[in-house]
Each structure stands twice: as C-alpha cells, then as structure tokens.
Subunit: 378 residues, 2 copies
C-alpha cells in the first residue's frame, strides 16, 4: 500500500483534482514510481507539481522540465471522453482493487467500455503473436470456458493468442490492455475488435490518449495485464517473448502463473515448458485454472486499507540534502545499475536524502530506474 497519495474512502476526485493527477503523471520524467515519491515528499499532487522546476534544476537540468499544463490535461480529457473513455485515479471506486496492490500502479487509468468488468474475477491469457493453429484453438477454448465460468479475460490485443482469447470471450467479457493510447490502437487491424469487445468488456490504457506505442511500452504495459489478474495463462511462448515477461511480472506480483504444456520439439513451447520447469501450474483445461484461483476468490479480496493522504510531507523542503551530499551521491552513480540500498549504505547519508537526490535527477531526466531498486545515471 502506497502512503501519501491514496484516497481515504474511495470517494471520487473533483474535476480539478483529476486534472492535477493527470498533469503530474503526464509531466516529463514522471513515471508511476516517481509520481508516488513526489506526492509522498511534497504531501500532495499540487505541491508536487509546484516543486518540479526546483527539483529539475537541482538535478542538473539546464532547462525547465516539461510540465503538463492544465490546458493540455483538459484537452486530453475532452478528446478521450468524446471517444467514450473515462479516467480513474488510484483509489477511486472504479480503479481495480487488485491493480492497486502492485508495486507501481498507474496513478490514472483511462477506461473505455463496461466498467463493471474491472470488478469481476479476471484471468489473463497471453501468448505468441505467431501462434500455431493448435495454440489459437486452445486459447479460444480456454477463454470461452473461463468466460462461461464467470471469469473475464485480460489480454494484450496482440495478433495470435491474445486476439484469439479476446474474440472467444468478447461476449462474456474481456479486457484489452493497450500499450499506447486509446486513439492509437495497435495493431490497427484490431480497431474493430476493440469496438466489439467494449460492449461486454473494456479497453484500458495508462498512456496519453494519442500515444503511439513504442517497443518499450509493451513490457511496461504487461505489468498491468498481470496486475489486473488473479493469474496469467501463457499459451504458447518462444524462448524470449513478451509473454514470459508478463509471467515473470505475475510471479513478482504474487499472481498465479499458468503454462500450457507443449511438445519439446515445438519451439513455440520452449517458453511455456520453461515456465513449467520453474514451477508454473500446468494447464490443459479451464478447470485447472479455476481450481487454482477458487481458493483466492473464496477468501475474498482485501482492498488496501484506506488511508488519509499525508498531511505532513515526508521529506521536508528544509531537510534537503546539502550540495556536498548531492555531489557525493551523484559521483557514486554511473551507467551501471546500483541498488538504492547500497547508495544509502555507502554514502553514509540518510535514505531520505538519497531518495531526494534521486528524485531530482529523475525529474531532470538524468536517472534511469531498472526495477528491483536499481538505478543508473543516463
């Protein structure tokens, strides 16, 4: 549970607040983690927005950071709403509870379709784009059977397994998680599929409405596929495939990982068989998935405990690191990823100071985060 930026009683944001949330997450160099850190440090969205120029300057940026203006945020909201897309912030009632549990939940999600779908038991089905006929057939079968059992199917709208899973569950409820914005469906040939699936399901994106998805947006998107779901079924996957990234993220997020076995002589099964070797649950029919998730459903689902937004900023402006500390810390960083824990230990300064300097560098566009608490200088 993130501190400092959740809503107390899952009430809705005002339009002004929603615009502020959108402005902060749409500003340059602010990702979901940074968003959290900023709100934690400055005690709210508005103070965080106000702090951005100073942070960027201290982080070594020579020009002011690109901050999303109120007009830009309003324009996005307006265009998206015209296309039937609604925006929900972390903590609002429509924001999927399970997604709130992941490490780096999107502060704002844009949803088109039937909102109830988000609250249903969700299982992801993912796999190769160049799937075999047998793989497609299996994906259709299990998506249909899970759908008939009341489970909505999450996938990534890709060709092959993803599309087969969406199509077979379009009438019972399916969720397409987009790598780009709602106005840039990828691949374009699946625009019709999205238009069809939003009748009983939904399409979700954390990206700006007109965002053209790039290669690295897909692995980033995959954390939402697994994060929304009780478990991820990988149908066919070659050795290094996006589906394996989704499976890894599912494992890290504590979700069930299911793999469909395949012949060792079929390279499209290398990834799924590898998952089985790592302990994934073998799946040959919907009943295997249901048996594994039933206990989770049975015990219900605990939403993160509601918490007041911090009134007190966690990192007070007057407790800022002095410039010696800042210089020393930056000297310890380089292109090779190092862990934040090591930085704190080796720099002999406070964790708050280290996080503060890292935030400055990030807003200045000079820091890369690699997950698992690793950072490097860009």
């Amino acid at each position: 549970m993130r501190s400092g930026w959740t809503l107390s009683d899952r009430t809705r944001l005002s339009e002004e607040e929603r615009l502020d949330w959108l402005r902060l997450i749409r500003s340059a160099n602010v990702g979901p983690r940074t968003f959290h850190d900023l709100v934690g440090y400055y005690g709210g969205i508005r103070p965080a927005l106000t702090a951005l120029p100073g942070l960027a300057r201290r982080g070594g940026s020579t020009r002011p950071p690109r901050i999303c203006s109120r007009a830009q945020a309003e324009a996005e909201l307006k265009a998206a709403r015209a296309a039937g897309v609604e925006f929900f912030a972390f903590g609002e009632p429509e924001y999927p509870t399970r997604l709130q549990m992941i490490d780096d939940p999107p502060p704002v999600i844009a949803v088109r379709g039937k909102l109830d779908t988000l609250a249903r038991p969700l299982v992801a089905i993912v796999g190769s784009r160049n799937a075999s006929a047998a793989g497609v057939k299996f994906a259709e079968r299990i998506a249909r059977d899970l759908g008939e059992a009341g489970i909505a199917i999450v996938s990534g709208l890709a060709r092959g397994i993803d599309a087969a899973a969406h199509r077979a569950s379009a009438d019972t409820g399916t969720i397409a998680v987009l790598a780009g914005g709602h106005d840039r469906i990828y691949p374009a040939e699946h625009v019709d599929l999205v238009n069809r699936l939003v009748a009983e399901g939904a399409a979700i994106s954390e990206m700006p409405f007109t965002w053209e998805p790039r290669a690295h947006d897909f692995p980033r998107r995959n954390r939402l596929i697994s994060g929304l779901s009780l478990g991820v079924v990988v149908v066919e996957a070659a050795r290094r495939s996006g589906s394996l990234i989704t499976a890894r993220l599912a494992g890290e997020q504590g979700r069930e990982v299911f793999a469909v076995p395949g012949s060792p002589l079929d390279p499209r099964s290398t990834g799924t068989n590898g998952l089985l070797k790592q302990g994934a649950i073998p799946v040959t029919e919907a009943a295997d998935v249901i048996a594994a998730i039933e206990p989770i459903l049975g015990r219900g689902f605990d939403a993160p405990s509601a918490q007041e937004p911090s009134q007190e900023p966690l990192g007070l402006p007057d407790a800022e690191p002095d410039s010696d500390e800042r210089v020393r810390l930056i000297a310890m960083l380089g292109p090779a990823p190092v862990s934040i824990d090591d930085l704190v230990r080796l720099s002999r300064t406070s964790a708050t100071n280290v996080r503060s300097v890292l935030l400055e560098l990030e807003i200045a566009g000079r820091l890369a985060r690699h997950g698992a608490g690793l950072v490097s200088l860009l």
Copy 2:
C-alpha cells in the same frame, strides 16, 4: 530391508541354495511377498518349502500345493543358462542394489547380457505403444543424450516409445525388463532387438524361462522398471496406460517421476500432462533429468545394511492360530478387499496369527493380495 532372507555379506549362493530359492519362488501361489513372509516365518528357504503342504491344508486346499521340484528347477536353470541367462538371488552381489529397496523385490532375477550394466546409474524411459512420430523422435533423442552422459536406459521392450529408447541406447547400454520369460520375448518382433542390446546392456526377467506373458504380467513387471531406476521418464501416455502405472510405482518407490509435456489437444499427452499436474518434473531435454538425479548420485547409494538370515523363525509352528481363530478370520474375509490392519484390529487376535492364516490361505490359492496391505478371498 527384508528380514530373514537376505545374505549377510552379499556372498554368492551355492548351487543347492540357488535351486532352493528358485523352487520356492516357482511354487504355486508363492509371489515375492509370500516368499518373504514364508522365509520369515520358517526361518529359511528349506523349512519354508517343507511347510508348504501343511499350510495349504490348513488354508483349506483339498489337494497338495504344486511345489516346484528340484528337477524342475534344475531344468529351468540348465535351459536358461544354455541361452546365456544367469540367475541371481536377492542379496547376491550382482542383484541390483536399488531393486533390493522396493517393497516386493523378486527373490530371483534371470539376467542375460552385460552384468555391469545393472550397477550403472539407470533411468527408465517409457511411453505409448502407438506413439507419435514426434514422441519416438524425442525418446530417441533423450535416450541417446542420457546414454552419452553415462546413464543406462531401462524400458519395457514394447513397441513405440520403449523400443525407440532401447534402440537409441543400444550402444551405450540399455536394459529390457521382460514381462515373460527370456524364452518368450514379447513382442516376438523384438527378438533381434534383445539380441542386439545384450552386447552392451541386459535383459531381465523374474518369470520362469519359458513363461508366456499374460496381460497382468505387464503391470507386475512395471515395478521392476521403476525399481531398477533412479527415475522414470514418461514420454507419451494416454489417459489409462501402462506407463502411468510405472510412474505411480516409481512415486511409491521414492523414485523421480519425469514427464514430457505435450499439447493439450493431443490425447497422447493426456497422461504426461496429468503427471505434470501431480507434480512430475517436466522434461524437455536430458539435462533436466541429469539435474534431478545428480544430487542422488552425488550422495552415493546406501545398500541395505547387511543382516544375518534369522536363525529363529518369526512365527513358531507351535504358536499357530487355533482353528477357532482361523474360522473367525476367514469369516471376516470376502471378495471385497479389506486391510490387514483392520483384520488384526477387528479379530482381536495377534498380528502374527493373522499373517499366519493369510499365508495359509494364500498357499492354498484362496487369497488375493491387492497391494497397500489389502487382501480378499478368491
């Protein structure tokens, strides 16, 4: 470790002793378990042979039991030896150590081929008779790769996967475990295969030299396939197949169970995928098997601790159950299998008496044993 009928220091039997062992196990209604019980009760092979007629009479048999004569045993030895087959009793140096660890080891095994093979690290490869081309190809590949890694391959000489595994490891060492006698190779088309594989491997049987295998001899034989091996690899198996029996026995014997994944749409993979769901280790290459058995090999192998044959019979003839007890116990038995533990508890007589009556019934041909301590009246 069986008490009462093992050899103290793995020395060889005399020819007379060997004939006695063979006579006892070849006598009617004496299986591996009964053999053990008899020797335990009567303190040796010869006294057990002598006790058979009395046991059969008390068990309710109207005619004397068919006891294998010295001449019959001699004839079998002679004919088999002429065909290059040697006989080894439980506890002799050539008797495979791992096979001694199972619940119901054959008292005598008949071996043709290179005896050293029995002492090598052994892995079984089994699967469907009507295997797919892919299954056969995979069996060949993994048998060859394991063979090159120094492992000898155990299988059941059946058509399909078994034969493929034997053929691919014929040059590196393979062991065919026969369901019938050495003089009745089944299927007959594999006589040439046996003749070829005995050069670097062996064929083993616990059955009389000229025994024609019947349907129920195959599941019985399967316990030797798993019992000889560190683990069993099931390549392809339909829902109810002999390979699954071998896998179950392997599990009961504490051996590794490996299963090759296959498409859920292929009925020949139903059994192997089912094994995966039950926790079998997924195998797509020889390295998977080697990784699992290496720790077992590494820690060496403890032979059962040597033990003197009991000098004292465990069940003294004068402690025999009286006829009332006998009648009462028999009345408690019927065609439905009951557990020996329940019999002891419900009959309120001693476990020794219960076992003694069961032994009598068995020698009289009136008792069926079902494993797991279950018996029924025939």
